[in-house]
């Protein structure tokens, strides 16, 4: 029983990481109705930037963390302006293929700069257990949860308390009316990509200490983030968080209690995606859309 609780707690922590990447996916999806397949690879790229800052520029982890978030934000904005904007209004298939192009390009660039050798990445938290009752909690897990909660709070404040946040919400819901009211809808999309890229970078920097740093490290995480987003309803911010935690717990349990479960976790992700889409396509928190023809 104690081991079960322990697995659930560590699942919640990993779930927080899935939730933050899922959140990045949701931000882009809300802005332009497309799943950004490159989100994970962009996060990997950002994480490598923070690695270089820490290892070669000898900057403290938390300072590097902030700098990386700012760089990633800029990167997201530039990518939207330079590569996504030319395809504005294109069919979903075209945009999907563009993000897949970004996926391969980012993967290649990361491999080109930093190589394919696995690197160990020291995060901002010591890797030591704290005893709490009969439970051993990992400082790492608690730290991850703390960072994710702070990030969620900041995003919530941004979207509900600032003018830019309001404009972004308006632009994604009613692009035409917003444009008439003077909202720069195009720049709101760029802002969405920037935020998504920054949030993704956080997930990368949180997961890298747990797994090793390599150019392909986010591919499995991306699948779990997709699973989380689909489970929560791909347009719902709350859904991404709840979905992420649920997927985190599920994967921790599958990995522990099913023989050879580590190998099968990705397949479980696939099963969850398919089952959710068949049973409740809008996810837990999404609204069913009615298509008008």
């Amino acid at each position: 029983m104690l081991s079960l609780i322990q697995q659930v707690i560590s699942g919640i922590a990993t779930g927080g990481i899935y939730a933050s990447l899922a959140l990045a996916l949701v931000l882009v999806y809300r802005a332009m109705d497309v799943a950004n397949f490159a989100q994970g690879e962009m996060a990997t790229f950002s994480t490598f930037i923070s690695y270089s800052l820490i290892e070669y520029a000898h900057i403290d982890f938390w300072l590097a963390f902030v700098i990386t978030i700012l760089i990633s934000f800029g990167l997201g904005v530039v990518i939207e302006r330079a590569l996504i904007r030319p395809f504005e209004g294109a069919p979903v298939l075209t945009l999907l293929i563009v993000t897949l192009g970004l996926f391969t390009a980012f993967n290649g660039v990361t491999g080109l700069i930093w190589g394919y050798v696995f690197k160990s990445y020291r995060g901002g938290f010591p890797d030591q257990p704290i005893q709490f009752g009969g439970l051993y909690l990992n400082t790492q897990d608690l730290g991850v949860l703390g960072v994710v909660l702070v990030m969620l709070l900041l995003l919530y404040l941004f979207f509900t308390r600032t003018k830019a946040g309001l404009a972004m919400r308006a632009a994604s819901l009613y692009p035409d009316s917003s444009r008439l009211l003077g909202v720069r809808v195009g720049w709101m999309l760029a802002l969405g990509w920037g935020l998504a890229s920054a949030v993704g970078a956080v997930s990368g920097m949180l997961v890298a200490p747990i797994i090793f740093l390599d150019p392909n490290m986010m591919q499995a995480i991306l699948l779990f983030a997709f699973t989380a987003a689909v489970l929560g309803g791909i347009e719902s911010v709350l859904g991404a968080v709840v979905g992420g935690v649920a997927v985190g717990i599920l994967m921790a349990l599958v990995g522990t209690y099913i023989p050879g479960g580590q190998d099968l976790r990705l397949a479980f992700g696939l099963i969850v995606i398919v089952v959710v889409l068949l049973v409740r396509p809008a996810g837990l928190f999404g609204r069913a859309t009615v298509k008008r023809v």
Binding site: V34, L93, L96, I97, L100, G101, D263, L270, L277
Partner: protein, 343 residues
């Protein structure tokens, strides 16, 4: 279109040249190039299948590498366990992969656009670890080694030459089959669904039937390609059929030309030769960065450039050149079909 499909002397000339090149190729190049062109033929087969699905019926799949895995492992396991001749396993691999594709097509029916991409992406990612897991059957990480495929007795061919003729023969037959499908009632139904599902349903086309059919056909082509790949390399392992294979297929079909017959041929030339030249370019250095080894950067950049400048892909460019030639000759004008992907 009528005007174009009328047999022209230039077309007959081109067909003769193509046939001579196709048959004569292995007699003038070395073993390595012959083998690489056998791989081109294998990718042609896989890309024709993906083109039927994505190019003609408008459903994206990032999971055709997984169907190739089904085909490859069917061949390897059958040959290893039962010892039957390798060539008899090719149709079995195709049919089995087709059935799997048909079954996966059923949930895919309710998934469009983004969701279909997500589900097939998950399929592509989860296949290698699943193959690793059931290692009593699949040999796990080590994979399965088969006896090399020897030419039939009485044929005076090297092993590479035989593989080349086998793979290109099968690719040619499957190319003609797809050519026929595209121009039949089925092909028109595929394209109607691609262009507007609502309009297609309103015209009495069964979405469920044609969408799952497209998935099944595409998977069967992938299965044959996977089987041929296993035979050609006489080896299968989980990493052969990972996400990068599925992505390479998508890159090939988009750059070759979605919804155009020759797109598969041009795309597979790229998918086989680009990694080769990327490897050769390893000497190229800018500062401390050495390019080469992996073709990923070129794939990604080409993908975006092609979508922006030539949404019909390489085959579209060739077709445009051909049109331009005809225009000069006859001042005939017929519009290109609407691009499958447009910006």
């Amino acid at each position: 279109m009528r005007r174009l499909s009328r047999t022209r002397p230039e077309l007959i000339g081109l067909a003769v040249v193509a046939a001579v090149v196709l048959i004569g190729l292995p007699t003038v190049t070395n073993q390595f190039f012959t083998f690489e062109f056998a791989k081109v033929a294998i990718f042609v087969t896989a890309l024709i299948g993906l083109n039927l699905l994505t190019g003609y019926s408008g459903q994206i799949s990032l999971g055709n590498g997984a169907f190739m895995a089904v085909g490859g492992y069917t061949t390897a396991i059958l040959v290893q366990r039962t010892g039957i001749p390798y060539w008899t396993t090719i149709p079995v691999a195709g049919i089995l992969a087709g059935v799997v594709g048909f079954l996966i097509g059923i949930p895919a029916l309710r998934l469009t656009g983004v969701y279909l991409a997500l589900a097939t992406f998950a399929l592509a990612l989860s296949i290698p670890p699943v193959l690793n897991h059931f290692d009593t059957f699949t040999g796990g990480h080590g994979g399965i080694v088969m006896a090399p495929a020897m030419p039939p007795l009485g044929l005076d061919l090297s092993q590479e030459q035989w593989l080349y003729y086998l793979c290109s023969g099968i690719a040619l037959v499957l190319f003609l089959f797809a050519w026929g499908i595209v121009r039949s009632r089925t092909g028109r139904a595929f394209m109607a669904i691609r262009d507007s599902e609502t309009a297609a349903v309103a015209s009495g086309i069964s979405l469920a039937y044609y969408k799952t059919l497209a998935f099944g056909l595409s998977a069967a082509y992938a299965g044959v390609a996977g089987s041929l790949l296993a035979i050609a390399t006489s080896y299968v392992n989980p990493d052969t059929f990972g996400l990068s294979l599925s992505l390479a297929l998508l890159v090939g079909v988009v750059i070759g030309g979605l919804g155009l017959d020759f797109g598969a041929v041009l795309g597979s030339l790229l998918v086989v030769w680009l990694p080769y030249y990327a490897e050769k370019a390893s000497g190229l250095q800018i500062g401390s960065l050495s390019f080469g080894g992996k073709p990923d950067i070129f794939y990604g950049a080409l993908l975006i450039l092609i979508l922006f400048f030539a949404p019909h892909g390489a085959a579209g460019l060739v077709q445009r050149g051909w049109r331009w030639y005809l225009l000069r000759r006859t001042a005939a004008r017929s519009p290109l079909p609407e691009p499958v992907v447009e910006r």
